[in-house]
Symmetry: C2
Subunit: 196 residues, 2 copies
Amino acid sequence: MRELEERIIKDGSINPGNVLKVDSFLNHQIDIRFLETLGEEFKRRFDGKNITKILTIEASGIGVASITSKYFDYPPVVFAKKSKTSNISNDVYKSSVHSYTHNETNHIIVSKQYLHKDDYVLIIDDFLANGCAVLGLIDLIKQAGAHVAGIGIVIEKGYQEGGQLIREQGYHLESLAIIKSMDGDTGNIQFVNNDE
Amino acid sequence: MRELEERIIKDGSINPGNVLKVDSFLNHQIDIRFLETLGEEFKRRFDGKNITKILTIEASGIGVASITSKYFDYPPVVFAKKSKTSNISNDVYKSSVHSYTHNETNHIIVSKQYLHKDDYVLIIDDFLANGCAVLGLIDLIKQAGAHVAGIGIVIEKGYQEGGQLIREQGYHLESLAIIKSMDGDTGNIQFVNNDE
């Protein structure tokens, strides 16, 4: 999505450790009008799919998932919660997600009340890198016996394995921008062209 | 706000310890169409105020803050992040918030880039009880030299001290529903009538 790539180039920065920082518009400060254009684009890419629920993970997925809902005629947005403890009640589905950024394993949980076997779930998240978070969300959906209707990502780090892993499993994954490479010294960011 | 009170009565439940659970539409599963009616009501209550930024706190404030933005002509939404560590860099404003629910103290931080002295900030959050979270957010705004334009809360627990504390300090606080009392045995919920 050209508009997103341009915004990343204009407002993103590359931090030490080759970390892309886009927190001026996506995941600390949020540009809601811009998120509406992302939501519209998700609708275009998943058009014709029957979506009964949007699933994301706290915290930075909640904004884009919430704004995206209206373009799919307002399915409920459910966000998985992170929990340090494995001592969790029986009325939740749980999975575990390792964060390499923070070097810790979180349990993620969703109340069984909010995922049902007749749900067609669109997963939405801001970033896809090694794929751990998305695989954890898929696991929750499977535990509920529900269907993964698709996975919509704002920014995919194409040089990490998550995207390939998920596509190879046959899921319909759409990333609005896919980064091919970044150079922290020059600030140069290259994208995979995936506009349809 | 009558519509919200009716929704709380219909879909809320009172858990042990007199904890009001509204996670079927507000803070785990989110009804986005309903949040739009809340956003419209915030606009009505803070009409005429110049709002340059909306500030909330992760995770459950992000949905309602994001949906509210468009009714104020799309000011950026900034969410304060929670951090366990006090060892935080110099480029953030930080405050501390004690959570009685989880019995822990979190540091909350906002990047200095996203709060400026010429900002008129509307604080939005889902719940107000003892007021610790809102007071922490006010502290961040003051550190930036910015202005608190108002505080919009979805559900205030009127029997806890937060609301009084904040109103006594002269802030314009609007809570869309104020709970006067709850009875876990009967499920009865009484509201303070604050419709204008």
